[in-house]
Symmetry: C2
Subunit: 154 residues, 2 copies
């Protein structure tokens, strides 16, 4: 099912909540309340997001978290990357890959392409877009896509 962990989902919820008042400082507790993510989990995620450079932390009393950039410049791909590590659909989508199947691993390159396409899809969506109340309203798929043209023609 191409599963994305719940943590990544929660993380975007937290980020979205912060995006509603960027440049303001939010406590972990407050964000947990607003997003209905349990407090310890929210704290954990915020630490990961901090490590990923997406938010910055302010310690001490009246401390909290704040977006490190404007929501327009934070992508969903980054959020997922910060929480769940690099985006890779299969084992051998990454570089190393000790997968030593001779013949069938011409496939490898193709997986890499697919992987990349997915990554681009995630990178194309910003936090600002996620936070927007009303999504694009067009009937046809707004995230549009035309890989067939280039892949099929051979």
């Amino acid at each position: 099912m191409l599963k994305l962990g719940k943590l990544a989902d929660y993380a975007t919820a937290l980020m979205t909540a912060m995006a509603s008042a960027p440049s303001q400082v939010h406590t972990a507790q407050g964000l947990a309340d607003r997003t209905h993510v349990s407090a310890p989990t929210a704290a954990k995620l915020l630490k990961l997001l901090t490590k990923g450079g997406l938010v910055e932390s302010l310690r001490g009393a009246h401390g909290g978290y704040r977006l490190s950039r404007s929501p327009e410049r934070i992508t969903v791909a980054e959020i997922i990357g910060a929480v769940e590590g690099p985006i890779a659909v299969t084992e051998c989508s990454e570089d190393h890959s000790g997968c030593s199947m001779e013949s069938s691993c011409a496939t490898k390159t193709n997986w890499r392409l697919i992987n990349r396409a997915i990554f681009e899809a995630l990178q194309a969506v910003t936090l600002a877009q996620m936070a927007a109340p009303a999504p694009v309203r067009r009937q046809e798929s707004p995230i549009h896509f035309h890989p067939a043209a280039s892949l099929a023609g051979r």
Copy 2:
């Protein structure tokens, strides 16, 4: 990491092996040997693929499996779907979704869009392409993608 299970990976390997000689009957054992997937696992996957309508089974002596369509008309999305169920990145990417977060679930629609984009990426790649020895050789991403144009403009 947007994980795709190993089974899906194995399944494409099996399908790719069959694609190298479509319209020919392959035994589960033979495919297992060629793909280095353990025999019981291969058998299990082939059953799933059969149920998904991607291959057809021939029972009895000299039985085996055969692609039910030409490799050009089988997509990676279908293979994954057959093995791991419907492709859905988050819980609420699917229709039902008892996720009852009022405010933050304007996000839901956006997830759905992302999900759809990923699905299209997978659907755009056929088994024939996976089986092809040499992948597209162009330097720029062959699976090309321009969602920004439509999503960003608002």
